[in-house]
């Protein structure tokens, strides 16, 4: 059944201009799998990731369209419900159907579709689906290999089971918000939803693990993904930051442009002539002499020319090193900072290469559009969005597979674009589908 859809996709190509592909359409690693995607904003990247890896992903929306379609910015020239760049980016490669789960006949219709799919993903509040008579237990009786992934703020059970979430709340309760910002201001988010990214990408790991297991054993299962827990992973792995508490009884909190471990602050961000650079800690016998050499060439090394500074450390000294005071460190960082200010980011990148320094420019996302490296790798993909020639440029998949490439094949679906196809496969004819539509079920 899935082969039918993928053949269909290959034939249609859905208006995409796959500039990155050579001749043939490569088959993705997840090509045998089909996915029904019922998620909201928290979970839509999960489906996109699986679709990039080759799965057939069908996005389900209410008849009026998914709320993400109303989130700007908007591509002026595109149709009103397809113009949201966020909607496009989160839902590339997916097919689209409509279904109203709040309509009395909606849940039964959903259940009738499920046998066509290997994986269902949702992000409803716990209880929403069971209240509508949709139970994984019942569905898996007739579809034993079914994997159902539920992505929620906090998981299916527990004291926060009924909590409502947002990306900001996910960052807060996941321990990430605490780590970002300046010390004299509130903790701060990123301008792009990172808790949702963690939730979606973390959930995808669980989904493919469960699908892998189902293929080998014939047994599907329910996967319960919690944004809170997955954010805690992106805030330091399984305890890389969190373990400061059980091990030392202390907390790491936001520290602006510096890395702060306990009382030691090591500056990372330096202002330069045209912006900022990030510099690795120079405090080591391999690193300090290199930056001193670069500064000395400009006569800017000052007291750092004393070779003792190669053996200075901020933390407890081990053999051969000596610990410098916080005042010393500030003076060193100020001296380095003055030198860095003379140069632009590109000049500093050149100096970094010349002297073996660990200095990297801080760029904006937009500046990366010009990156020689990213362009050489065809990282940016052009996706045709609407006739005649309305296109967008998106960041490509986050991974490259040599044999079964991940790929962006098509734009996000239009509302109900594939109702005929998908409901047709479920045995409904055109008249049935029209009737459902006129009653508002789809």
């Amino acid at each position: 059944m899935t082969a039918y859809y993928t053949d269909w996709l290959d034939n249609q190509i859905l208006n995409a201009e796959p500039a990155y592909l050579s001749d043939s359409q490569p088959v993705g690693a997840l090509a045998p799998y089909s996915v029904l995607d019922l998620t909201g904003e928290i979970g839509q990247i999960c489906g996109r990731t699986l679709a990039e890896l080759g799965a057939l992903v069908v996005k389900v929306e209410p008849p009026g369209g998914d709320p993400v379609r109303s989130v700007g910015p908007f591509l002026d020239q595109a149709g009103p419900t397809d113009a949201s760049l966020l909607w496009q980016v989160l839902n590339l490669n997916k097919l689209g159907i409509t279904l109203d789960l709040d309509h009395p006949d909606g849940p039964a219709l959903l259940s009738s579709l499920i046998s066509q799919f290997d994986l269902v993903i949702d992000s409803f509040q716990p209880g929403y689906l069971t209240e509508r008579g949709i139970s994984f237990e019942a569905l898996s009786q007739v579809h034993p290999k079914l994997v159902w992934l539920s992505i929620t703020g906090f998981g299916q059970e527990g004291p926060y089971r009924d909590y409502v979430w947002s990306d900001l709340v996910g960052l807060a309760l996941g321990g990430q918000l605490n780590l970002w910002g300046d010390e004299d201001r509130p903790p701060v988010q990123a301008a792009v939803a990172q808790a949702y990214y963690a939730a979606s990408q973390g959930a995808a790991v669980g989904a493919v693990a469960a699908l892998y297991h189902a293929r080998k054993t014939g047994c599907g299962q329910f996967v319960d993904a919690s944004m809170q827990e997955l954010v805690s992973f992106t805030a330091g792995g399984p305890g890389g930051i969190t373990c400061h508490w059980p091990m030392l009884g202390r907390n790491i909190t936001r520290s602006g442009p510096a890395l702060r471990i306990d009382k030691i602050r090591t500056r990372i961000l330096y202002e330069c002539r045209d912006g900022y650079v990030a510099m690795a800690s120079p405090w080591s016998p391999t690193k300090m002499p290199k930056i001193v050499k670069a500064m000395a060439r400009d006569g800017a090394a000052g007291f750092l020319e004393d070779p003792k500074w190669a053996y200075a450390t901020r933390s407890e000294p081990i053999a051969g090193m000596w610990q410098c005071t916080p005042e010393d460190a500030e003076a060193v960082e100020a001296l380095i900072g003055d030198w860095v200010k003379r140069y632009s980011r590109d000049e500093l990148l050149g100096l970094a290469e010349e002297f073996g320094l660990m200095i990297f420019p801080v760029r904006t996302v937009a500046e990366n559009l010009q990156s020689e490296q990213l362009r050489a790798r065809n990282f940016f993909q052009t996706v045709h969005v609407q006739e005649p020639d309305i296109s967008i440029t998106v960041a490509g998949p986050p991974v490259r597979l040599s044999l079964t490439p991940a790929s962006v094949r098509s734009r996000a679906p239009q509302i109900g674009e594939h109702n005929a196809l998908i409901y047709g496969r479920a045995g409904l004819n055109e008249a049935n589908i029209e009737a459902l539509a006129s009653r508002g079920v789809i």
């Binding site: 993705g28 509130p186 493919v208 693990a209 373990c243 091990m247 900022y276 760029r363 991974v399």
Partner: protein, 430 residues
């Protein structure tokens, strides 16, 4: 696993559930510090057997990174290393020694997946580049992590997580519009990159099982972070005003999506609560909970569009009101009224959080040098085959004999010879 293998399994090998998704999958982890090793942790959570190859002379810098258990010195005391290597075995090999390299190659024979993060071009001398590995074992899957990718003019550039954070543009998205970026407290990319990398790895294993074909997975940290930047790439490419750091305002194409939306002070030192109000019903609920008539009746704040015009005043008013509240209590009251709200948790807060406790997020394990310790499991939970912590992070070279004899299949005398030849290393041995 065959009956013979099971019967001859030596002491010290702990089992994942036999029915874990990746039970029977072997992973050779040649990477170090953060992003690569975390990929190994994720695979271990789902049942793979993961071997970390280390050097006894050139220690992984993570081993000397704080925090160290009780502040004690020692190469096995780092909680940072511990988090990045949960669930793995450790073997010390000298890859620049023919005997050590031979063992590494035999471990490739044992492995289904190799994780490596060497600079592109560095592995050829060891015949550990993808082409050589594929020749040796056609179905091998190699997960290659790097800053900028295996190809392209800048492929050889070195870098660390927080440098990718800056270069990719992600760091520029964090902070306040009137100030420098302010999100460098930790190397955020190191903890994001492993997620799509491992999803692709499991997909590649699936493909291999069906076709016998392995492949290389090329993960560039830069590319993951740009993928994580959501619609920012598309926005800039479309010539629209760029997405840029905006404090805690939730903006979409210049429009305010939620107001109030931010982190507000609560009682105590440096205590905050995140509150996000997306519609007027939530706003009314917020006002009811806070019980402040001025807030409720101020005409500037009645609707989302009008609140959007007075964000600074709104935030200032709200901050004055929330400051009197205990953060947890306010969160509970707001959530009960259907308002998205969450206490900003620090590490102690995470440990004490009732939901994380209910989820079993912290799992007590026994570490040889730390004693009993709360490790952390993974937040995507298949119910039948949940993530497991197979073992604590390894001590350096803790499993030399086990790995070399039973995975690389050297005989007892071959193993002894490998030690004499310097292929297998022991820390502190002269």
């Amino acid at each position: 696993m065959t009956a013979v293998e099971k019967a001859t399994k030596p002491e010290g090998i702990s089992e994942s559930h036999d029915h874990s998704p990746l039970s029977g999958i072997n992973v050779l982890d040649l990477s170090w510090v953060a992003a690569g090793p975390l990929c190994g942790v994720l695979l271990s959570y789902f049942g793979a057997t993961v071997v970390r190859v280390e050097s006894a002379y050139r220690l992984d810098t993570a081993r000397s990174s704080p925090p160290r258990m009780r502040g004690e010195a020692g190469i096995n005391k780092s909680g940072y290393f511990g988090a990045l290597n949960l669930g793995k075995y450790s073997v010390c090999l000298n890859l620049n020694n023919p005997s050590g390299l031979e063992i590494a190659h035999r471990l490739v024979d044992w492995a289904d997946v190799v994780i490596q993060a060497f600079r592109p071009g560095m592995t050829k001398k060891w015949a550990m580049d993808y082409e050589s590995l594929r020749e040796r074992k056609p179905g091998i899957i190699v997960l290659s992590l790097s800053l900028q990718g295996q190809t392209g003019p800048l492929a050889g550039l070195r870098g660390m997580g927080f440098q990718v954070h800056g270069m990719s543009g992600m760091a520029s998205l964090i902070g306040w519009p009137d100030r420098a970026p302010s999100g460098f407290t930790h190397a955020y990319p190191d903890y994001v990159v492993p997620l799509p990398a491992v999803t692709a790895t499991i997909a590649a294993l699936d493909h291999r099982d069906r076709t016998g074909e392995g492949q290389e997975i090329d993960v560039a940290q830069m590319e993951v972070m740009l993928n994580a930047a959501g619609a920012a790439v598309a926005t800039a490419a479309a010539g629209l005003p760029e997405v840029s750091r905006s404090g805690n305002n939730l903006l979409a194409g210049g429009e305010v999506r939620a107001a109030p939306h931010g982190a507000y002070p609560t009682r105590g030192d440096d205590r905050w609560i995140a509150i996000s109000v997306f519609n007027d019903r939530q706003w009314q609920s917020l006002c009811t909970v806070l019980g402040n008539p001025v807030l409720e009746t101020d005409p500037r704040f009645q609707t989302l569009p009008s609140r959007a015009l007075s964000l600074d005043e709104l935030d200032a008013h709200l901050a004055q009101l929330t400051a009197d509240w205990d953060g947890r209590e306010l969160m509970e009251r707001l959530q009960a009224a259907g308002v998205p709200a969450g206490v900003v948790l620090d590490q102690q807060g995470l440990f004490e959080d009732p939901q994380l406790q209910a989820r079993g997020h912290f799992v007590p394990i026994e570490h040889p040098e730390w004693g009993q310790y709360p490790a952390e499991t993974f937040g995507a939970r298949p119910r039948v085959t949940p993530p497991t912590i197979q073992r604590p992070a390894p001590c350096l070279g803790e499993h030399n004999e086990l790995v070399v004899r039973h995975f690389a299949r050297l005989s007892e005398s071959e193993y002894a010879q490998a030690i004499v030849d310097g292929g297998v290393e022991f820390y502190g041995a002269d």
